[in-house]
C-alpha cells in the first residue's frame, strides 16, 4: 500500500504540477500585436483557458487596441459613415446656399431620450425590449438547430438535449464538451465545415475541453467516437441532426465584456445583450429574476 502511494506521489511530483506566473504585460502586448511566436501564443492561449483574469485582460486589450477583428471593422465602418455624413452635409449646405429659400415648415420635434449607458445601441436595445416585453429569436439559432433527418422515425431519441453545447452560441473559445455516455473510450473531433480543427486524445471520461482554442465568429460541428472493444459508434448518430455550436465573434465578445465590466449588476442590459448574441441560457439566467416575462419569451426560442 505504501509503495503504491509513494508511486502515485512520485508520478504527480515528476510531472511537477504547480502554479506558475501569469503572462507578463509584455507577453500580452506581443500576443495582441501579433508579434508573439507560435509557442508563446500557444502558452498564452493555454493559460487564458484556465485564468479568467488574464483572459479578460487580453480581450480588453485586443478590443482597446483595435486588433480584435470586429472592433477594427466597426471602427472603420464608423469612420466611413462619418466621412459619408460629412460629404452629404457639405452637399446639402451647398445646395441650400444655391437654391431659393423656401418657407420653413414646422417639423415634429424628435424626442431624444437621454443616454443611460453611453451607447446608443444599448439604450435602443433595452428600450425596445421593455416596450415589447419580449425578445425575438436571433436568426443564427435557426441555423444551429437543424431538424432531424426526414427519415427519422418519431421514436428516435433526440441527442440535442444531452450533448453540450449543441444548437447554442458560446462565448468561450475553448468550451467544455460533454456527452451522456458514461462508459467506453472516447475521441472527440471538432470540424469547421469539412476541416477538422481539433481532436482529443483517447478519453476515459465523458468530457473534453477543446484544444487548441477555436477561432471566433465560426460555426463548428462536433462528434464523439465511442470505442468499446472493437466496436466504434458515433455520437450524434444519424438520423439525429449534427451537433453544432457557434463561437461568438470578437466584436460581440468585446461588447459583452464591456457590458459586464461597466454594468456588472444590470441584469436587464446583460440579458438583452446575451439574447441579441444568441446566448439563450445566459440571457434567461440574467433576466429570470426581475424580468420573468421577457425571460419566458427567450426560454421559448
Amino acid at each position: 500500500m505504501n509503495e503504491k502511494l509513494s508511486r502515485r506521489e512520485s508520478i504527480a511530483d515528476a510531472l511537477g504540477v504547480g502554479r506558475g506566473d501569469h503572462p507578463s504585460y509584455e507577453m500580452l502586448e506581443q500576443f495582441v500585436d501579433g508579434t508573439a511566436d507560435d509557442v508563446m501564443r500557444e502558452i498564452i492561449d493555454s493559460h487564458r483557458q484556465v485564468c479568467t483574469n488574464c483572459d479578460a485582460e487580453l480581450r480588453d486589450l485586443m478590443s482597446f487596441s483595435g486588433r480584435a477583428r470586429g472592433s477594427t471593422a466597426l471602427y472603420r465602418l464608423g469612420a466611413a459613415v462619418a466621412a459619408i455624413a460629412l460629404i452629404i452635409a457639405g452637399a446639402v449646405f451647398l445646395r441650400r446656399a444655391t437654391t431659393t429659400k423656401k418657407p420653413v415648415r414646422d417639423l415634429p420635434t424628435r424626442t431624444t431620450i437621454a443616454s443611460t449607458y453611453g451607447r446608443e445601441d444599448w439604450d435602443a436595445a433595452v428600450r425596445t425590449t421593455l416596450a415589447r416585453g419580449a425578445i425575438e429569436r436571433p436568426a443564427i439559432l435557426a441555423d444551429l438547430r437543424p431538424s432531424a433527418d426526414v427519415l427519422r422515425t418519431p421514436n428516435t431519441p433526440d441527442t440535442r438535449p444531452t450533448m453540450s453545447p449543441v444548437g447554442a452560441v458560446i462565448e468561450e473559445t475553448a468550451p467544455l464538451l460533454t456527452w451522456p455516455v458514461a462508459r467506453g473510450r472516447f475521441v472527440v473531433s471538432v470540424f469547421d465545415g469539412f476541416k477538422r480543427v481539433a481532436r482529443s486524445g483517447v478519453l476515459r471520461s465523458a468530457e473534453w475541453r477543446v484544444s487548441p482554442p477555436l477561432a471566433r465568429g465560426r460555426t463548428y460541428t462536433w462528434q464523439v467516437e465511442i470505442r468499446r472493444g472493437d466496436s466504434v459508434e458515433l455520437l450524434p448518430s444519424p438520423p439525429a441532426p449534427a451537433a453544432l455550436f457557434h463561437v461568438l465573434d470578437e466584436s460581440d465578445a468585446a461588447e459583452l465584456a464591456e457590458a459586464r465590466r461597466r454594468f456588472p449588476n444590470d441584469h436587464l442590459l446583460l440579458g438583452v445583450l446575451y439574447a441579441r448574441a444568441g446566448m439563450q441560457q445566459e440571457a434567461v439566467g440574467e433576466l429570470r429574476e426581475h424580468h420573468g416575462h421577457i425571460a419566458a419569451s427567450v426560454e421559448h426560442w
Binding site: 503504491k4 502511494l5 508511486r7 502515485r8 506521489e9 512520485s10 508520478i11 504527480a12 511530483d13 515528476a14 510531472l15 511537477g16 504540477v17 504547480g18 502554479r19 506558475g20 506566473d21 501569469h22 507578463s24 504585460y25 500580452l28 502586448e29 495582441v32 511566436d37 509557442v39 508563446m40 500557444e42 502558452i43 492561449d45 493555454s46 493559460h47 483557458q49 484556465v50 485564468c51 483574469n53 479578460a56 485582460e57 480588453d60 486589450l61 478590443s63 482597446f64 487596441s65 483595435g66 472592433s71 471602427y75 464608423g78 473510450r185 482529443s200 486524445g201 483517447v202 478519453l203 476515459r204 471520461s205 468530457e207 473534453w208 475541453r209 484544444s211 487548441p212 465590466r261
Partner: protein, 298 residues
C-alpha cells in the same frame, strides 16, 4: 556580476540581499495605497518564496543580475495582488502601457530597479504612430493633459492612478482579508493523491495542446531519473497504445522510443522543430495549466 546557482538559494545571503530590493519596490509602488502592515509582510514573503522557487528550479538558467530580477519579480507579485483586488485598475494600466508603447507622442524609460517612467516627447514626430480606436484616442488625450498639467515625468503607476481618478475607476483598496489572494491554498481533497485524482490529472493532460503534452510527458522523470510513463501504465492510469495515441506517435516508433525515455529537452526540441527554451516554456505552461485546472499549488 557573479551568477547565482540554485545552491545559493540555500544560503541566507541571497535572501538578505534580496529583501532590501523587495522592500524598496513595495514602498515605491504602494506608497499611494493604504496597505495594511500584514499585507505588506505577505507581499515580501511571497516575493521571497517565488525567488527561492526560481533559484531551485533546475531547468532554468542561473539569474544574471539578482537585483533587477528581484525588482521585477516583486512588481509581478504586486501586480498579481492588484489585478485580484481591482481588475478594472489592472486593465486600465494595460491600456495606458499599450498607448505609451504605440503612440509616438509619449516616451518611456525603464529604470534599473524596474520602474517605468513616462513623459511627453519634446519634438513632434513625423511618423504619427497612434492606436486608432476611439477608446485609445480618448485615453491618449487624457494622458497628454495629465502630463502637461503636472510633473513632466511620471511613474506609470502614478499616471494610471490619475487617469483612474478622471475616468471613475477606483484605486485598489486593500485589506487584511486580501492576504489569501497572494498564495492560493491547495485544495485539501486534491492534495491527497489518489487514483481518482491521478485520473483527473491524466484527463487534464489529455486536454493539453499536443506540444505541451509532449514537452511534459516525454521528459517527465521520477527522483531516480527514470521516466514516469511506465509508472502511469503500471498504475493503470493509461495503456501503452493509448499513450502512443495521446502523444500522436506511431506504435512502432513509440515502442522504439520507450527504451530511450525520458528524452532530454534537446531531443524533444528536435522532434517539435523548436528551441530547447521553447520546450521548457511549453512544459511550464502545461504544469501551470494542470495546477489551475486541478486546484493544485506549489
Amino acid at each position: 556580476m557573479r551568477e547565482l546557482s540554485r545552491d545559493d538559494a540555500l544560503d541566507g545571503d541571497v535572501v538578505a540581499r534580496a529583501v532590501p530590493v523587495i522592500e524598496t519596490v513595495i514602498r515605491r509602488r504602494c506608497r499611494h495605497w493604504k496597505l495594511p502592515a500584514d499585507l505588506h509582510d505577505d507581499l515580501r514573503s511571497e516575493a521571497i518564496v517565488r525567488l527561492l522557487r526560481r533559484l531551485s528550479d533546475p531547468e532554468l538558467e542561473p539569474i544574471g543580475a539578482l537585483d533587477e530580477y528581484v525588482a521585477g519579480l516583486t512588481s509581478c507579485v504586486i501586480d498579481d495582488l492588484v489585478r485580484a483586488v481591482s481588475p478594472e485598475w489592472a486593465r486600465l494600466k494595460h491600456r495606458v502601457r499599450y498607448v505609451l508603447n504605440h503612440d509616438d507622442r509619449f516616451q518611456v524609460a525603464t529604470l534599473a530597479g524596474g520602474q517605468i517612467r513616462c513623459s511627453l516627447q519634446r519634438t513632434a514626430s513625423i511618423d504619427r504612430n497612434r492606436v486608432k480606436t476611439r477608446a485609445a484616442t480618448q485615453l491618449a488625450q487624457t494622458m497628454i493633459e495629465i502630463l502637461r498639467e503636472g510633473e513632466a515625468e511620471r511613474a506609470v503607476d502614478e499616471l494610471v492612478s490619475e487617469v483612474a481618478a478622471r475616468t471613475g475607476v477606483e484605486d485598489p483598496i486593500f485589506s487584511s482579508a486580501d492576504r489569501h489572494l497572494l498564495s492560493p491554498a491547495t485544495s485539501p481533497h486534491l492534495a491527497a493523491e489518489s487514483t481518482d485524482s491521478l485520473r483527473q490529472l491524466w484527463s487534464e493532460i489529455l486536454a493539453l495542446p499536443l506540444r505541451q503534452r509532449l514537452a511534459l510527458l516525454l521528459n517527465a522523470r521520477d527522483a531516480a531519473g527514470d521516466s514516469i510513463l511506465p509508472l502511469l501504465v503500471a498504475a493503470q492510469i493509461v495503456t501503452m497504445p493509448d499513450l502512443a495515441e495521446t502523444l500522436e506517435i506511431e506504435n512502432a516508433e513509440f515502442e522504439r522510443l520507450w527504451n530511450e525515455l525520458p528524452l532530454i529537452d534537446a531531443g524533444i526540441a528536435e522532434r517539435l522543430q523548436i528551441t530547447r527554451q521553447q520546450v521548457i516554456n511549453l512544459r511550464k505552461a502545461a504544469r501551470d495549466r494542470l495546477a489551475r485546472r486541478t486546484g493544485r499549488s506549489r
